[in-house]
Symmetry: C2
Subunit: 223 residues, 2 copies
Amino acid sequence: MLNRIPGIDYVFKDPGLLEKALTHRSFGSHNNERLEFLGDAILSLVVADRLFHLHPDVSEGDLSRLRSRVVRGDTLARLANKLRLSDHLIMGEGELKTGGFKKNSILADTLEALFGAIYLDGGFRECERVVRQACDDVIDNLPDAEELKDPKTRLQEWMQARGRPLPIYQLEKEEGAEHAKLFTVSVTLAGSREQAFASGSSRRKAEQAAASQMLETLRTAAQ
Amino acid sequence: MLNRIPGIDYVFKDPGLLEKALTHRSFGSHNNERLEFLGDAILSLVVADRLFHLHPDVSEGDLSRLRSRVVRGDTLARLANKLRLSDHLIMGEGELKTGGFKKNSILADTLEALFGAIYLDGGFRECERVVRQACDDVIDNLPDAEELKDPKTRLQEWMQARGRPLPIYQLEKEEGAEHAKLFTVSVTLAGSREQAFASGSSRRKAEQAAASQMLETLRTAAQ
């Protein structure tokens, strides 16, 4: 029975735990879903701790945005691919045939389950060491917290920094059938003739797109 | 300077960390918000670990619902009240006057910040011990995982368990002005004349209320 994964510097005392971590639910009820629940919590803490120390002057909101970037599915899938986790996945026939071993969500979940298994097998410190080995490169090369903010937040902060009133969003049009609606939204800035329009499948998405356009306009005007 | 809180069995090596954990943002920029970010992550892991071992046969979805019940604001505020944390809060004049020391959200956040400070001051094991002392009573007396599911999930599982098709939700009416909308929804079960209606301030809320009514009807009919 396998007791370690090449690329992860940890040898399992209980190889059964490693096997469980690698087992997708398509294989049966003895699978990695509960370990994933645990691993997700460990990963969140280890990344939070690292970011806390790395960015002593960053607000909790920014810390939280930075962490999301590390623990989100596509980042974890990228790390899982680097470790070639797909070579070791244990899955049901159906999932195998449809290429489940290449699915980002399955790879990301398996990596979390692996962290959970190491935590159970070796304790917090050992698991922290392994998580850090896997993630520090990502954590140390995150974009600036500012860039991770959504456009509406950035536009609002741009206005506040200049002592100007908040942007005004207005629903201009709502068209299409119940399940294929299209919302068109405008954003206006008090004391300015600038206006931006955008559409999206939800009001929120349309507002974000409009804010993004307005930021672009402001940026161009400022140059 | 205070180096411990009565009721919490931990003595701070660095009393400055305890002071920071007790300081609300209304007091100034040297406040507990970043510690709260860290404490939230530790609390999540310690509770996840405990639930994982306490309920070896519970699914990850149920584990997650059970944990939410422990780490949600009103549970933490109750624990904070038991520890009389409000006696030690450090806040700005404004918050003090408006009774901020009694606000559930502030008390819950402060308790998380306190866990974060203990983690930094004493490490994971010490912090785990303190979190367990504070929370085990709640964790060991949680309602059954089944009861924590929302009505739509419960109704869906009720139907699936009987091999019947999924409930059908339909928007019946949408009335009121933009910011005070009222949605009315119906739920129908294929192959049954039973139907339930309910209203709510969002479509989702109306659907949950309709599912809840339908469950009641089914329960009464089954008796």
